[in-house]
C-alpha cells in the first residue's frame, strides 16, 4: 500500500482528500476531507512518531533501538514538535472557531 502525501508536489501547498472508497463494498465518498495532523507530516516523521510510541516515549530507549545517540533523537523530536505546532497554528488560521 502506498503512503499518503500531504504536500502538493507542484506548488508545495497542503493537499486535501477529495475522494475515498471502501474496497469491501465499493462505496465511494466525494467531498473535501481534511488530513489529520499526523498525515500532514512526512512519511519519515510519521514513522518517527510510531517508533517513539513503540519505545513508550523514551528517547533513550528509542536511541538504543535505532542505534543513534540521544541528542540526535531529541533534536528530531524537537523538529517534529515545532512542525506540529506550526501545522496547528495554520489550521487555526484556516478554520477559526
Amino acid at each position: 500500500m502506498a503512503e499518503i502525501v500531504s504536500q502538493c508536489p507542484s506548488c508545495g501547498g497542503p493537499l486535501e482528500v477529495q475522494r475515498m472508497g471502501c474496497p469491501a463494498c465499493q462505496i465511494t465518498l466525494e467531498g473535501s476531507f481534511q488530513l489529520g495532523l499526523l498525515e500532514r507530516l512526512s512519511p519519515a516523521e510519521r514513522q518517527f512518531v510510531v517508533e517513539f510510541v513503540k519505545a513508550s516515549g523514551s528517547l533513550k530507549e528509542m536511541a538504543r533501538r535505532l542505534g543513534v545517540s540521544y541528542p540526535t533523537v531529541r533534536s528530531r523530536l524537537d523538529d517534529i514538535i515545532s512542525r506540529v505546532e506550526r501545522l496547528e497554528e495554520e489550521r487555526r488560521h484556516e478554520h477559526p472557531e
Binding site: M1, A2, E3, I4, V5, C8, P9, L15, P43, A44, E45, R46, Q47, F48, V50, E51, L59, R65, L66, G67, V68, S69, Y70, P71, T72, V73, R74, S75, R76, D78
Partner: protein
C-alpha cells in the same frame, strides 16, 4: 495522491542520521557520538589529565577556556582544585542557562560530560606547556618578570626564543578557539536549543562562568590557607 512506501525503522534511521555532523565538523561537534555516560567517562579522563598537568607542570587552569603559567610556584593542592572547579562551574552555568532558555528535554550527565570533553584542547595546551616541552620557552620571560629590570618592556618585546614563543602563541589561540567552539556545541547538543539562540546564550553563559571561576579563586585560596 500517494507515494511508494518508504517507511520503517531503516527509513527513520536514515532520517535521523541525515541530521548528524560529519567530516571535519566532528572536530568541533563530536557530541552526537560522545554523549551521556560515555561523555562523562571521557570527560573525567580529560579533567584528570588537566589535574595531573596542573600539579606536575605548575599550570593554573583558572578559567573556562584559559590557563596560565604563574611566575611563582603555587601549592599543588590549589593547582589541582582549579581545573575541577573551572569544569564544574562551566557545567553548572551552562546547565542553568539551558534549563532557563531551552524547553527541550535535558540531562545533567550531558552537561557534565560534554563540558568536560570540551576542555580537551585545554588539556592538550597544558601538556604542550610542560617545562620539558614548549614550556621551557616561557621560563626566560618568567625570570624577567621576577627580576623586573628597568627596561622590562624592551626586553619582553625581544625575548629569547621569539620564534618558538610566536608558535606557542599561535597554538594557544587555536586551542582556545577550539575549546570555545567545542563548549558552544556542548551547550547546543546538551540543551537542544536552536543554533542562533544557543550562540547568544553561550556568549552570556561563558562570560558568567569565566567571572565565577575567577571569583572562586578567593574562597579556594582561603580554604587552603593561602591567604
Amino acid at each position: 495522491m500517494s507515494t511508494r512506501n518508504e517507511t520503517g525503522p531503516e527509513a527513520v534511521q536514515q532520517y535521523l542520521r541525515a541530521d548528524e555532523p560529519r567530516g571535519w565538523m566532528l572536530l568541533v561537534n563530536p557530541f552526537r557520538r560522545i554523549e551521556g555516560l560515555r561523555a562523562l567517562l571521557l570527560g573525567l579522563l580529560v579533567v584528570a589529565d588537566t589535574v595531573l598537568v596542573a600539579v606536575y607542570g605548575g599550570i593554573a587552569y583558572d578559567g573556562v577556556a584559559d590557563l596560565h603559567v604563574p611566575p611563582h610556584p603555587l601549592p599543588p593542592s590549589f593547582l589541582a582544585l582549579l581545573p575541577v572547579t573551572a569544569w564544574l562551574i562551566a557545567a553548572a552555568v551552562l546547565g542553568l542557562a539551558g534549563w532557563l532558555f531551552s524547553r527541550s528535554r535535558q540531562r545533567v550527565v550531558d552537561y557534565l560530560g560534554m563540558v568536560a570533553v570540551a576542555r580537551f584542547p585545554m588539556a592538550l595546551l597544558g601538556v604542550l606547556l610542560l617545562p620539558s616541552l614548549l614550556g621551557r620557552y616561557l621560563e626566560p620571560i618568567n625570570r624577567l618578570l621576577e627580576q623586573n629590570p628597568p627596561d622590562l618592556l624592551q626586553r619582553l618585546l625581544h625575548p629569547p626564543g621569539l620564534a618558538a614563543l610566536a608558535l606557542l602563541s599561535l597554538i594557544s589561540v587555536i586551542l582556545v578557539l577550539w575549546t570555545a567552539a567545542l563548549t558552544y556545541f556542548a551547550l547546543l547538543e546538551a540543551s537542544g536549543m536552536s543554533k542562533g539562540r544557543a550562540l547568544v546564550v553561550f556568549l552570556g553563559a561563558a562570560l558568567v562562568a569565566e567571572v565565577l571561576s575567577k571569583l572562586a579563586l578567593i574562597p579556594l585560596a582561603l580554604a587552603l590557607g593561602l591567604g
